[in-house]
């Protein structure tokens, strides 16, 4: 895709990290080199927390802008478009900054064959707890702020009523149900 270097932050002690744990690890890894801009996704698929990027910015003491659909950089300033209810916020921030990306920001390129071949030669360094100098009590399950007590399937929605017959009759019946039964109209 175009990355020049990669670093893997991995250690058994990191297992079970919550968003804050992940942000602490990323902050420790980020501090090992200078940076102008850190890009994260909007949220992890699965947990859907939408926290890590913004936590990371605050831990590093730099600006953070979340759910971004447009970026312009001029000198040491970054201007971002951010989705809000009923519009878009234009946020101006000083670099360095952390930005979390939302769909619409760009079109991801396809990796080229040349890129794939070149990627094989690139070094991927692994950073462990000792390399990062993090307190292992503050990350992993030891550092998590909440304990999982239950994981269950969502309660099934009560079986719905699928209408049939002529469309005109279905529409009439639907309006009656929405008004009289569901009281939603």
């Amino acid at each position: 895709m175009g990355a020049d270097k990669a670093v893997l932050v991995s250690d058994p002690a990191f297992a079970g990290s919550d968003a804050m744990g992940v942000a602490r690890l990323l902050a420790a890894a980020a501090k090992r080199q200078p940076f102008d801009l850190i890009l994260c996704g909007k949220a992890g698929v699965g947990d859907d927390n939408q926290q890590v990027g913004t936590l990371l910015g605050e831990l590093l003491g730099v600006a953070s802008v979340s759910v971004v659909t447009g970026i312009e950089i001029a000198g040491t300033l970054i201007t971002c478009k951010r989705e809000i209810e009923g519009g878009v916020e234009v946020v101006k921030a000083a670099l360095p900054a952390v930005v979390t990306c939302q769909k619409g920001l760009n079109e991801p390129r396809y990796p080229s064959l040349k890129g794939i071949m070149m990627a094989k030669k690139k070094e991927v360094a692994t950073l462990k707890a000792g390399d990062l100098g993090v307190d292992v009590g503050s990350v992993g399950s030891a550092g998590a702020a909440f304990r999982l007590t239950k994981l269950e399937s969502p309660p099934p929605r009560p079986a719905g009523r699928i209408l049939s017959g002529e469309v005109a009759d279905q529409v009439k019946e639907l309006v009656r149900l929405l008004h009289d039964e569901a009281k939603a109209l």
Binding site: D47, F146, R147, G160, V171
Partner: protein, 326 residues
Amino acid sequence: MNVLVFAEQRGGKLKKASLEAVSVGRELADVTGGSVAAVLVGQGIASLAEPLGKTGADKVYIGEDPLFASYSNDAYGLAVSKAAQIWGAEALLFPGTAMGKDLAPKVCARLGAGLLSDVTAFKLEGGTLQLTRPIYSGKAFATLSPVPGKPFALTLRPNVFPIGDKARTPEVVPLEHGVTQGDIKAVVESIIAAEGGTLDVAEADIIVSGGRGIKGPENFPLLEAFAKELSAAVGASRAAVDAGWIDHAHQVGQTGKVVSPTLYFACGISGAIQHLAGMSSSKVIVAINKDPEAPIFKVATYGVVGDLFEVIPMLTQAVKELKSRQ
């Protein structure tokens, strides 16, 4: 448990989700034994203390300053953190809005508090608070309890919790926030309102959404006319957005917005799991689809099997007649 609620306002108007959060705060404080404070940050906001009291706030901190005229997660984050320290907050609540979700991590990083996103239910069991949230695109519900002895924060999914009526006259105090211009690294410069000031799906009580079955951008006015009759917002599935038929701001689902309206119309939407993730907590779901086997019918409260180009105009007319009788 002493609870602090961040009460979001924009342009001097309180968000409904803020009142929902204060109501949850009241319940939490009542079941655990404690008080509720709300914190307002902005300019020209003093009159908003009263509705917060009506919903159950014992105390309202007013963070009023020209520095807060435009939203900055740095400035607002510092102000809310300061309020949490002054109040001795053990739990912090944020509405799960664009602003609340952006602000909560800033405050939690500063306070060292844990944060749970998108909470949809809570209860006290044997003295322990149990908090429920959907994960894996709504395919599972996780229940978690906070590790004792640490402050924690929650963002609450909007439109899920009822607005309470445990009214009181709140004590209103100015917030000694200590924020200076030098603290601000990022700030909102302007807001581009959606075209025609249309209602946002994230805040609407009724949503009319269209999917692949709409067939093209030229047919969205059909849904818009129906939505107008209902004072509803227009939503869309990923298929319709990716095809370029409607702006991404309208997308409901995993890569769009998560909504919980009272009434959701899915028109020509098959019901992929990514779409269900964004709307399955709607109270009443109406599916309109030609294909009786479409998965959307599995979550529908009511289903109409038919061509939406035939159904929607009839439905628009029927709703118009119903409204004129009311």
